[in-house]
Symmetry: C2
Subunit: 142 residues, 2 copies
């Protein structure tokens, strides 16, 4: 996994939550949505299907854990998953808890208006809530 | 797998390409994008992470095959994957070959304008191209 470096745009837009077996779990800094991002710690990874089979299985496990974590923390009507990378090429997988009254429903969150940065205390509360519900056998809080 | 029925909206918007081990592979009827959709033949499936582990592994294999199939048929700059389901609840996974000059780049295709239905001959050509490149050991053309 040497050579991995987090893309500067992802570093700016997200906060570290925990490390999974493959990826960093990060919280998107946007108060409008309950939005996690998984970033595999694999140098130069861009396309999901170019990851090796073992890495893909780990990522799938992380997607499951992240989805269930959101459900546990934020009541929602639908989970959304996406891997786009048209702007930030570094491989990252979005995991979202959507609600019928959120700012983009029923559309996608990507490209929907501008991020509303969280106030420091609100961001800290979300991080604390997520960390309280993390499966400690799967995630390392760093 | 009994009890599966394709959602009427998906039936209207897509054409059958082939059956994978878990899912129907379908072509979105939108000339603007090279756009496949995987629909697991599982009754009442809605959330990706509520599929059983075996089904998830099959779906992951299908995602890989579908992405490589698009690459073989349509030169592209980036693959996009998404599972949203905010409008059509039936579980379906989008697999797209995006190009820098396509109608929605770099934004997502979901919610980007209106579908441009393919003329019958153009749709038939795309289906033929896809079927020529299908891995016949994996997909059954029905």
């Amino acid at each position: 996994m040497s050579g991995f470096a987090l893309d500067p745009r992802l570093a700016l837009d997200t906060q570290f939550v925990a490390d999974g077996p493959l990826s960093q779990l990060r919280l998107m800094d946007d108060s409008r949505f309950a939005w996690l991002v998984l970033v595999p710690r694999v140098a130069d990874a861009s396309e999901l299907i170019d990851l090796g089979a073992d890495a893909q299985r780990l990522l799938l496990a992380e997607v499951n854990h992240a989805g269930n974590l959101l459900r546990a923390c934020f009541p929602c009507d639908k989970l959304n998953f996406g891997a786009l990378g048209n702007i930030v090429r570094q491989l990252h997988v979005h995991v979202l808890a959507r609600t019928r009254d959120d700012a983009a429903w029923p559309g996608p969150v990507w490209g929907a208006g501008s991020a509303q940065r969280m106030a420091a205390d609100a961001g800290a509360r979300r991080l604390q809530l997520l960390r309280e519900h993390l499966n400690a056998e799967f995630w390392r809080p760093g």
